[in-house]
Symmetry: C2
Subunit: 129 residues, 2 copies
Amino acid sequence: MNWLDQVKWDEQGLVPVIAQERGSKDVLMFAFMNREALAKTAELGEAVYWSRSRGRLWHKGEESGHIQKVHELRIDCDADVVLLTVEQLGHEPGIACHTGRHSCFFSVLRNGQWQAVDPVLKDPERIYK
Amino acid sequence: MNWLDQVKWDEQGLVPVIAQERGSKDVLMFAFMNREALAKTAELGEAVYWSRSRGRLWHKGEESGHIQKVHELRIDCDADVVLLTVEQLGHEPGIACHTGRHSCFFSVLRNGQWQAVDPVLKDPERIYK
């Protein structure tokens, strides 16, 4: 059985994907892949997601240069979530978030409020020229 | 504005949640919360998910004893994914997966196949008596 057939795709043919940084083990972002995106990710060794907002494949870093080199693909016990181990390229330290931050998970719940606690490493206007 | 109102709940009133182990930084599992589950998680300091299969709140560890003590709650840039930093209680090393493994992400893609590479730490029949 093909490994792509073993993934439990949702009603929209998507699977949720968590990208975790190699080394730091920081969780960088969360996105979706369809079958083609997952196949391309494995083939290229770079993260290719399915952009729900744009309705097309999204080769992460295609505009920003912030490519994710994939070192490992894992799947969970129910075969319905994928975990990528990635090297976040294009900037040091790596920038995964469109806000110019290292990780998309930069806001912490403190005193009943979500507070942005991680710095912007590069102005988004300079990332997306 | 209440922090719960800032979460972008999906059409079913749910938000995806990633649980990451404090210390090891291993990604342990992925699940969903509704508003009540997220409120209870923050209030109790223990992970309470929404079980889609059972259609009810699921206080993680209620049967297995494998409680997740929550140290931090984060939200992503789009406010539609939650990341928990947890201490996985009830067994040493921690068991988050119903298969008796440390993490639900125990299968790796190798040579075109998903291969279970992490050990079962406790027989599930002994976990769910």
